[in-house]
Symmetry: C2
Subunit: 192 residues, 2 copies
DNA sequence: CTCGGTTGTCTAGCGGTGCTAGCATCGGGT
DNA sequence: ACCCGATGCTAGCACCGCTAGACAACCGAG
């Protein structure tokens, strides 16, 4: 049995290597540069090896996205944990979200911009994505206000953050008023 | 001179044909299906003809995006013109924006999701894009509230709409609570 | 220790992509 | 009527995602 276990371990190791390499390459040179050939060369295996781990490129993107979701959830919880009061928590959440998107553009793209073949808001939605949404809900649910469904409120707030994240990074929003934009969002949308 | 004028006219006509064909193909089968070969076949010319009009595929996407910006601006102005009072105008604007994104997904992608090689929020920003933003500003500027820069407020509201548009269409937001989400955005963000 | 079979990896190649060099042909100006 | 430049074509480049089939390496049985 031990032999099989070792092989399985090595295989899992290599799978992590593939995902990490894809992520690094995307972060360095953009997702366009992440081709199966380049990726194979970086991990020092031939192309078909990739297809013994993933169905195709989209599934590799999906794996990066799931990693990102885990990290995003952790970043949001870490930021809100050290903030006192609802106002500070929501502000810290918004900050952490936008910071994450700015610091990990390729991962953020994998999660929300590219097609990673992931299902959202469904039964089959992967646990990592549900948990990231849960992290938002924990803080935002308590400032939704009377008669407003916490889930719907969280979706609206999230969409607003997502819009700012994507438009900022795509050069559609000038970065200098970022603070004002976040304050506006927090002060107006959240009922404190 | 008349000969040259005729040729110039025919050339402009063909350029419109290229853009319209690209847009139609993208709307029917998605941007992935818009390849230079297929596009050339549809307009009944060979591939290199495309490159005598545009530098490459990205510039074709950009041309579709500019068309879209013009239409979006018109749709927004048409919607707000028939609404009475600030509240109704903002609500109509939000509705029109999300409706446009839902009705023209490929065009919306060309404008904000894909790389059309367009500059935003700069000197060199094409007139159509500036005007679309201006259409937003006309309605949103008057509900920004005291001490809030109208431009910054418009950016925030726009980003929120953009977030909802993209997340909804990508299946990240369930469509059933769309009305509630729009109401939330209008009632809270705008100071009426 | 040897052998058979499974498991794993690689080489090579398919059909597609965006884009371009170079030739042919067509038509306007003299 | 002829020349010549503009214009559109054929053919091909390098690259893409993905896969079939050959080959090697290794494990377990005798």
């Amino acid at each position: 049995m031990s032999v099989q276990e070792r092989k399985q371990r090595e295989r899992a190791e290599r799978e992590r290597l593939i995902v990490a390499t894809a992520r690094g390459l995307a972060e360095q040179q953009g997702w366009d540069a992440v081709t199966t050939r380049r990726l194979a060369e970086r991990i020092e295996y031939s192309q078909p090896v990739l297809y013994s781990h993933f169905r195709g490129k989209r599934e590799i993107i999906g794996a990066v996205a799931l990693d990102g979701a885990t990290e995003l959830a952790a970043a949001l919880r870490a930021a809100t944990a050290v903030a006192d009061g609802p106002r500070a928590r929501v502000a810290a959440l918004a900050r952490a979200y936008l910071d994450f998107a700015a610091a990990n553009p390729a991962v953020y793209d994998a999660m929300f911009q590219l097609d990673g073949g992931l299902a959202f808001a469904q039964e089959s939605t992967p646990e990592q994505l549900k948990d990231a949404f849960a992290a938002l809900l924990e803080t935002l649910g308590e400032v939704a206000g009377e008669g407003v469904h916490p889930g719907v409120f969280t979706e609206v707030f999230w969409a607003s953050l997502h819009g700012q994240a994507t438009l900022t990074r795509a050069g559609r929003l000038p970065p200098e008023y970022l603070d004002q934009r976040v304050d506006l969002l927090v002060d107006r949308l959240a009922l404190l």
